[in-house]
């Protein structure tokens, strides 16, 4: 069983969100990295760009396949995890820590209410199986 921390919010497409004030930190879940297998390349958004919730903003590629990942909330990309450029395997090793992908300064923190909590996300991945 994969790890689903209770302090995070999720999309059913396997992105996680850590909310601190009006800043959201985004990565992909432990379950997602297990499904994808060894990651070999991550294409991150440009710092300073504006994104809307639901936009495809980053691509993560494993040996097997490329997968789009989606912005859980709207706002401005204020920071990306540049370490992933040379070490994409950080997402496999530590998906909720060193494997974080990017940070968004949220336009509307109310959007967080639309995200899944840990229990609902756990349920959604169990349904997939």
């Amino acid at each position: 069983m994969s790890n689903v921390p209770s302090d995070l919010k999720f999309l059913s497409s396997h992105e996680w969100v850590l909310v601190e004030g009006d800043v959201a930190t985004i990565g992909v879940s432990d379950h997602a990295q297990e499904l994808l297998g060894d990651l070999v390349f991550v294409e991150l958004p440009e710092t300073g760009s504006s994104v809307s919730a639901g936009d495809s903003v980053a691509v993560i590629e494993s040996v097997k396949a490329a997968s789009d990942t989606y912005a859980p909330v709207s706002g401005e990309i204020i920071e990306v995890n540049e370490e992933l450029e040379d070490s994409p395997e950080r997402i496999n090793d530590d998906p909720y820590g060193d494997g974080w992908m990017y940070k968004i300064k949220m336009e509307d923190p109310g959007e967080v209410g639309d995200l899944l909590n840990a229990d609902a996300y756990t349920e959604s991945i169990e349904e997939d199986e």
């Binding site: 297998g37 060894d38 070999v40 294409e43 691509v59 590629e61 040996v63 097997k64």
Partner: protein, 360 residues
């Protein structure tokens, strides 16, 4: 539920992630595809390839039959146990399948073909056998097949055998096989490393796998098998070539024996293609920019577009590599379109990696 090899339970015991492959439940990896890949390049790994199809071709007509069926010439096989890689072609010169044939004696050849093409291959083999009274084609479905590959693979396999059997295996040359009753051992593979492919009776299969585990051979899945063969520049049927592509445009001209008078199925079409000028070539690509080359991506060259046939990430090189079919004559650098961006790739000679070392 798919078909299960005799090693199915062994895979579950090793925590394999199982996937469907051509109707078979097969292990894609046992945790990390990249680790498995690196084990084969540096030590020894094993693959369950029992899904592959084994056909014994026997009888006085076996030799004539295979000389007509195969685009490579089994007439080259002079020593008992010697193996040959060949394509079988249709009348248009397209590739029906690729295979390994082992020469056991003048009236006994063992052929190993792909599992994904089993039904059509068997039909094609039977069709070409019509009118040959002294020929028997018998599929062996009572065997498992384990490929043990890597620089330490042979040493580890030696420890499973004793006395005369051990001597026989130790003295096997490259691309040679020996039949020892319960075991048929060939010094062949699909990784670019030294090693063996072992046919073993179903009754002995799980025991053989366990013995290999006990001497430190690591189970490896189909995922690593694919990146290993890609690095080794070896073709995969159905992606790098199929019934619509000839060996001449698939990097397989080296497997054709067509300079003498021997006739074989597809020869005329190949000669016509050569006379008209071969329009495409299969080349190796190394991506210079960041990203991963994938099957079917468009390749843009100065002489027109081509397509990636097999693309992935090379764990040994730490960059993306691919096989691509592009217009003949193109050399140097090309562009590959990935998600609406044009990335630069260098044309290189294949293989990319052989025996653990980069060739580029």
């Amino acid at each position: 539920m798919g078909k299960k090899t005799p090693l199915f339970q062994s895979h579950l015991d090793a925590s394999a992630k199982m996937v469907d492959f051509a109707g078979w439940d097969m292990p894609i990896h046992y945790g990390s595809q990249i680790e498995e890949h690196k084990i084969v390049r540096s030590d020894a790994g094993m693959f369950d390839v029992s899904h592959m199809t084994v056909v014994d071709v026997t009888g006085d007509d076996a030799r004539a039959y295979l000389r007509n069926l195969l685009a490579n010439d089994i007439g080259k096989l002079k020593i008992q146990g010697k193996a040959l890689y060949s394509c079988i072609l249709n009348d248009e010169g397209g590739v029906v399948d690729d295979l390994i044939v082992y020469f056991l004696n003048d009236s006994f050849y063992r052929v190993i073909i792909n599992s994904s093409t089993r039904d059509k291959d068997i039909a094609w083999l039977n069709q070409q056998a019509a009118g040959l009274p002294n020929l028997t084609l018998s599929e062996r479905d009572n065997v498992a097949m384990i490929a043990v590959q890597g620089p330490n693979a042979r040493e580890k396999v030696f420890t499973l055998f004793a006395d005369e059997q051990r001597t026989q295996i130790e003295s096997l040359g490259r691309f040679m096989a020996v039949d020892m009753g319960d075991y048929f051992v060939g010094r062949t593979g699909y990784t670019g490393e030294d090693g063996f492919e072992i046919l073993v009776s179903v009754a002995q299969a799980a025991r053989c796998w366990k013995q290999l585990l006990d001497v430190g051979v690591k189970p490896c899945g189909l995922g690593a098998r694919d990146t290993l063969r890609l690095e080794a520049g070896m073709s995969l049927y159905g992606t790098d070539m199929d019934e619509t592509t000839s060996p001449l445009i698939s990097g397989l001209a080296w497997t054709l024996a067509m300079s003498d008078e021997r006739e074989f199925i597809g020869k005329q079409a190949l000669q016509d293609e050569q006379n008209n000028g071969v329009s495409q070539q299969l080349v190796g690509l190394v991506l210079k920019d960041k990203g991963v080359l994938r099957n079917h991506l468009k390749v843009i060259t100065v002489s027109g577009d081509g397509e990636i046939t097999s693309g992935s990430f090379s764990p040994t090189l730490g960059k993306s590599v691919a096989l691509a079919r592009i217009p003949s004559g193109v050399v140097g650098e090309v562009e590959v379109e990935i998600r609406n961006k044009l990335l630069k790739a260098q044309i290189v000679k294949i293989p990319f990696v052989r025996q653990g070392k980069s060739c580029i």
